[in-house]
């Protein structure tokens, strides 16, 4: 009792200062490490990279009969135009009709998602203008809430899908190259979503592969305008794209 009474004032306790000292040293070491690890080193890259989880909507159709052989969505057309012409059957027309219906459904779904996001934005702006407690930092800081974070991911998923749709590489690549070729491109976008420039952070070493990546990005521009809070980041820091096969 007597001993504990001697340290009634916490700041006079040697144990407090010891714990604080250790805590400060650990924090300093961490911060120092963060600032000193070169961003170009593998460890630095892993630390600094914001990993993006790309999500996609998939259509769950009726389960196929286990006994049935798989079918191609679209038969491989002949190189031979003479026999290739015979491929355009009624079945193809049915497929095209189904594809059009599916495209219309996808468009409708996209509209609904966009409208929902806009409604959410308006609610946030409205509550901010009333001086009510904010719902997170618009630039999506680690302290922001899930709504703003989701908006950022939606945009990056869009970028992913735009480029993926144009990601076409030459057939001449050997089997070994197909399993080893990797390259990283940084794309810089202006606030309207237009590609300002692209740079190779890491080239694959195969000019045909690298050219096709550059072409995929250029064909994908312009992208949709970035979210307001991210526009500066994507213009100054860019977005890294890791390509592999």
């Amino acid at each position: 009792m007597e001993k504990s009474g001697a340290y009634d004032n916490l700041f006079l306790s040697p144990r407090f200062w010891m714990v604080l000292g250790i805590s400060s040293a650990v924090h300093l070491a961490l911060i120092g490490g963060v600032l000193l690890v070169p961003r170009s080193s593998p460890a630095g890259q892993d630390f600094f990279r914001e990993k993006v989880i790309v999500t996609r909507l998939v259509k769950l159709g009726r389960e196929a009969d286990e006994k049935l052989l798989p079918r191609l969505n679209r038969p491989h057309l002949n190189a031979d135009s003479e026999t290739g012409a015979a491929v355009d059957t009624g079945r193809e027309k049915v497929d095209r009709h189904q594809e059009e219906e599916e495209a219309a459904r996808q468009k409708d779904l996209a509209k609904k998602i966009a409208s929902s996001v806009n409604r959410m934005k308006k609610m946030i702006e409205k509550s901010s203008s009333r001086g009510e407690p904010g719902t997170g930092r618009p630039e999506g800081s680690p302290f922001g809430d899930s709504e703003t974070a989701r908006e950022g991911d939606i945009y990056l998923t869009t970028i992913h899908n735009y480029i993926r749709n144009n990601y076409v590489v030459p057939s001449i690549l050997s089997e070994t190259e197909k399993s080893t070729l990797k390259a990283t491109i940084i794309i810089y976008l202006d606030p309207s979503g237009r590609l300002i420039k692209l740079t190779f952070e890491k080239r694959s070493g195969n000019p045909h592969f690298d050219n096709s990546l550059e072409s995929a990005v250029k064909k994908s521009s312009p992208f949709p305008p970035p979210p307001k809070g991210k526009a500066r980041l994507f213009q100054d820091q860019g977005i890294g794209i890791n390509f592999s096969i």
Partner: protein, 440 residues
């Protein structure tokens, strides 16, 4: 004072963390593949008639080979922005930007000079990469009379070899059965469908040709002695000898990768079973023993396993066993009639024919490990009897899409399907020869 220091520390920590603006990184994988846009400038024909004929044939074969390869998209010469006759062959002479503006990523040009020492013409060819603005292949060929076709194949093998690091297959050949007018002969063609020749014509029915592992002989079954016996045809003397003549079937012979054994279907014990025999026809081992029909064996490229067809479960299905007959496992569970398995040269796939729910035969590939099945052909007649090219990049097969059964080739993923035969009669059971079967 101490409190002030702690305050600074907290502020610095906060600023340091917030100043690290993280650039996001996306991972993009699974590209589509497209043929490389290639500008092929035909070699200008010289004035000498013999040389002009050779160069004309050379140009035609090169164009056809590059299209067959499925690796290149030949750019329409009408869209060329460069007049080839005004452009030299040296790197400094090439108008790189104009070729790039044409959409080319590679360029092939050639020039001729007078032939010497029996050659009708000498052709110098170069392959250029537009992206790196340099020539990457420089070849000169002295073309002898009637050798323009072969020389063009050699050049195209070199071009494909440069890009893929693997030997090309333009000089390999395919054997098959030709059914015409009641006769069934064993014939051979170049892989582009040229030079069809009869190897075995004996007035009888001849079936299921397959290659000796060294490309010097062909195994086939013939009814010439009124029993389906196994024969071996030798290219060296254009002569056949009997290998196996057990009572009943002696069919579907496939020589092992080391050339020592032959897997064959025999019905000497009333039921069709798979046996191993040696090159002289002596039975080494019976591999299957069940009530169903076992047939159509194919070796894994390492020679350790054999895939085959069995009706032991009711319908024909693809099975796999060790080469000594142990560990027999069923691989296919879809489709109601699975047959003609052919193991890929890499060993990772087995191509086979299957009849689907619409009673149409089509080609599929099977992963022998995962048993996953992928379709290669669809909605284009009956497609049957696959056989792999020696580099595993192509498959030859028969198709009835044009009416009669003709031979086709396609990329191993089912793309770039093209017919290579157009003769009368029906073509059946093509077997693609090894690299050692090349035209000489």
């Amino acid at each position: 004072m101490r409190k002030t220091n702690i305050g600074y520390l907290v502020i610095i920590s906060f600023l340091a963390v917030t100043c690290i603006a993280a650039r996001p990184y996306l991972d993009i994988t699974g590209p589509d593949f497209r043929p490389l846009p290639l500008a092929l400038v035909g070699v200008q024909e010289p004035t000498d008639p013999a040389a002009a004929k050779a160069v004309k044939e050379f140009n035609q074969v090169v164009k056809n080979d590059l299209e067959i390869s499925g690796l290149f998209k030949l750019i329409d010469p009408k869209t060329f922005l460069v007049k080839s006759e005004t452009e030299g062959m040296a790197d400094a002479d090439i108008k790189w930007q104009q070729w790039a503006d044409t959409g080319a990523e590679a360029l092939i040009k050639g020039k001729t000079s007078a032939g010497k020492d029996g050659a009708v013409v000498v052709i110098n060819l170069r392959l250029y990469e537009i992206g790196s603005s340099k020539s990457v292949l420089d070849k000169t060929y002295s073309i002898r009379p009637d050798k323009a076709r072969e020389t063009a194949h050699v050049f195209c093998d070199d071009v494909v070899g440069y890009f893929t690091g693997q030997p090309g297959i333009f000089r390999t050949r395919i054997v098959f059965v030709k059914k015409q007018g009641g006769a069934e002969t064993i014939n051979i063609i170049d892989m582009d469908g040229a030079n069809e020749n009869v190897l075995v014509s004996n007035g009888s029915i001849n079936l299921l040709p397959s290659w000796g592992q060294d490309g010097k002989s062909i195994f086939y079954t013939s009814f010439i002695n009124h029993n389906p016996d196994l024969y071996e045809y030798f290219f060296s003397d254009n002569h056949s000898t009997v290998v196996s003549k057990h009572p009943g079937l002696n069919i579907g012979a496939q020589v092992s990768p080391d050339g020592k054994n032959i897997a064959i279907t025999l019905s000497r014990d009333d039921n069709s079973e798979i046996y191993l025999i040696d090159r002289e026809g002596k039975i080494m081992q019976r591999l299957t023993s069940d009530w169903g029909i076992d047939s159509s064996s194919t070796w894994s490229p390492d020679g350790k396993k054999i895939s085959f067809v069995s009706t032991r479960s009711g319908n024909p299905n693809i099975y796999m066993m060790n080469m000594n007959g142990s560990d027999q496992v069923r691989l296919t569970f879809k489709g109601n009639y699975n047959q003609t398995p052919r193991w890929s040269p890499k060993g990772d796939k087995i191509a086979f024919t299957a009849r689907d729910e619409r009673n149409v035969f089509d080609l599929f590939v099977l992963d022998p490990q995962s048993k996953e099945v992928k379709r290669l052909t669809q909605d284009q007649g009956n497609n049957e009897e696959p056989s792999w090219s020696p580099n595993g990049k192509y498959i030859t097969f028969t198709s009835t899409r044009g009416g009669s059964s003709q031979i086709f080739i396609m990329n191993a993923d089912g793309t770039n399907q093209r017919r290579i035969t157009s003769g009368k009669g029906d073509y059946a059971t093509p077997a693609w020869g090894p690299y050692t079967s090349v035209i000489r």
